[in-house]
Symmetry: C2
Subunit: 197 residues, 2 copies
Amino acid sequence: MGTVVPVTRPDEPLSRAQRRAQTAERILSAARALFTESGYDRTTIRAVAAEAGVDPALVMQHFGTKDELFRRAITVSSEEAMGGGEEKLVELLLGILGVKLGEVSGTSLALLRSMLTYPEAAEQVRAANTRQLEQISGAIGGDDAELRAALTVSTLLGITIGRHLLGLDQLRTAGTDHIAEVMKPCLEALTGRQPPP
Amino acid sequence: MGTVVPVTRPDEPLSRAQRRAQTAERILSAARALFTESGYDRTTIRAVAAEAGVDPALVMQHFGTKDELFRRAITVSSEEAMGGGEEKLVELLLGILGVKLGEVSGTSLALLRSMLTYPEAAEQVRAANTRQLEQISGAIGGDDAELRAALTVSTLLGITIGRHLLGLDQLRTAGTDHIAEVMKPCLEALTGRQPPP
DNA sequence: GTCTATAAGCAGATAGAC
DNA sequence: GTCTATCTGCTTATAGAC
């Protein structure tokens, strides 16, 4: 169906299609780094091209528009998509906390950096949060479940922002385990059923 | 010392200086609204002028640069500056929570909207957070005080973002009191002394 | 004192040379 | 197939007419 690339030069190590795919990947990687650092508006096609060591026109050739470049840069292959399983409450939360505090995939940070000023990024973050929220809400149960889930997600979001995007010293220098340990009772209080007044 | 404005026209209700100050205030108000809505980069001098019903050149005449306009727009008169007193821990926290969840002064939201993409805004937010953090840290005491305080501030920040800037439904529709009620045990767990293992 | 007109620069996107 | 050169539009900021 036209996907087969005939090898015209057996001594050439990589086909043109392969080289092209490699270049696209390098551009995406550069774009991810710059979007993470400066956000959507302040990241220029020219800067991405320079970072990737290619011509600006080549970036347009590959992705058409800056918008599409961003979309591709913040789209995960299919793996993470926020710890997908059916785990149980606290483990789920600490999992999210671990993921968000640990490496925090480059795609996530690139997305979060622009969420307050680039409407499409905001929409994606809302969607991701809604998915997390439904998982947590279902695990909590009760009247306040949705509110509690929303507060939990927002709390984790705030810590991620403080640590990775704002760079608050006390959060940058603390270890992941330490933070998780301190946050655990807090998250339990937030997700546990409230005692009767 | 030249500050006295002689009244040349007794029948004129306002002096020129007064009218000028009024116009400046209207420009600042318009700027605050647009900075809050769209952030620093996407807010143009032209749009601010249009919103205030004045000429773009007049905005420059008053504030010189866009940078200075932003600085003036997010500078509070002197009052709030984050509930300044010497209150006691939980009350302090709920106070901050109340302030952040309630009206959240326009200046604060304008500042928060740009904190991830406009370096000067980020610096201001870090500074404000540090002040809060020191208050809370002092009230907590103990080894983890600073970390706990940082996590507390980040938590409140996350909720403010989710509610007012991202517009998460579950947080927008919930009442301030309800949120405070649900968050109280969580904040107590975060700021209370940890039980010995 | 206020606004028209314009300068100067940079963005994303396009067309055509090689 | 890749890059040079350019187009078009929009920004902040300035200079000068009224």
